[in-house]
């Protein structure tokens, strides 16, 4: 079988679904790409999108709650930067399933060969 990094518990489950929800949206993925270039103030981020600033702020909030960005106040300005570690969970999870299915289909082959 395979194991999850750090085991499975309620907390990591909750973190994971937030992360998946967050990166499933194209606007939020674009925001992540922008902050992947470096820290960006909210107005710079908002200008890049054809939507209201509150709408962009809402997307940033989803990303923040998923632990994918961090927010910092400088004067009256809010600045965002990427926190990439949760993305590793996504990658690890997919990799673990790659292994899982490979093993399972090997087992299916063994089963077929056994003729039982």
């Amino acid at each position: 079988m395979f194991t999850y990094n750090g085991g499975v518990n309620e907390q990591t489950d909750a973190i994971a679904i937030d992360v998946f929800h967050a990166i499933a949206d194209p606007t939020r993925r674009s925001l992540l790409e922008m902050v992947a270039e470096g820290e960006r103030p909210v107005n710079v981020l908002a200008e890049a999108f054809d939507m209201s600033r509150p709408a962009v702020s809402q997307h940033l909030r989803v990303l923040r709650e998923a632990g994918l960005v961090t927010e910092r106040k400088v004067g009256r300005e809010r600045r965002y930067r990427l926190r990439a570690a949760p993305l590793r969970e996504v990658r690890d999870w997919v990799r673990q399933y790659e292994w899982f299915w490979k093993e399972r289909f090997d087992a299916l082959g063994d089963y077929l060969e056994g003729g039982s």
Partner: protein
């Protein structure tokens, strides 16, 4: 539905009917997949029960979405109450001398992860040489990088002295983000990290202090 996150193809030297039978018979399924209460009927909800092993979710909640004997089986797959519902599609096609099985497992949103990783990758390729022009102890930096890469948890990371030192130097860029991007680029083997760091330190013009 976006493109599948996992695609695998396996050839079995048996006709599709036989593979289908092993694929969908609950007792056969228990042998190759997991103990289950599966039935090949659209809308049937079933549970895959995993042996109590470290880290593996106790059960996977599934629902049969499509059954087309002996060609196609699709079911949902949720490995924890707070996990996203993913989708497993298994398609059998007749091939010369047997059957080609194709698996598509989707719903992980890994496209988003890859998109951001590509951006990070590009960025650290540009910035890494600059990072290693800093006058820091190469061996210690390698060690810290390794610890960082294998333990990317904020609490641990913030106590790493070399990383702290890097962060305290002005005009460095953002080393912590660089390291995170290494994590995402899959530089997660010790030797890879050592090679990477050594490679940069060996470049002409790069200043490093004796260890």
């Amino acid at each position: 539905m976006s493109e599948p996150d996992i695609i695998q193809e396996v050839f079995y030297p048996y006709p599709p009917e036989r593979v289908w039978s092993a694929l969908t018979n609950p007792s056969a399924m228990a042998r190759w997949l997991l103990p289950n209460d599966f039935a090949p009927r659209q809308g049937h909800r079933f549970t895959l029960r995993a042996p109590a092993e470290d880290g593996w979710p106790a059960s996977v909640a599934c629902e049969v979405l499509e059954v087309e004997q002996p060609r196609r089986l699709v079911f949902s797959w949720q490995d924890g109450p707070h996990r996203p519902v993913t989708r497993v599609a298994i398609t059998l096609s007749r091939a010369l001398g047997g059957t080609l099985l194709r698996l598509e497992h989707s719903g992980f949103a890994s496209g988003g992860q890859r998109q951001v990783s590509r951006r990070l990758h590009r960025r650290w390729r540009q910035r890494l040489p600059r990072l290693f022009q800093l006058q820091v102890d190469a061996a210690a930096l390698t060690e810290e990088l390794f610890v960082y890469v294998t333990e990317p948890r904020a609490a641990t990371r913030n106590r790493l002295p070399v990383v702290d030192e890097l962060l305290s130097i002005r005009g460095v860029g953002v080393p912590v983000e660089l390291l995170e991007s290494m994590v995402l680029d899959g530089v997660d083997e010790r030797q890879d990290v050592v090679d990477l760091v050594t490679g940069f330190l060996d470049r002409p013009g790069v200043v490093s202090l004796p260890a």
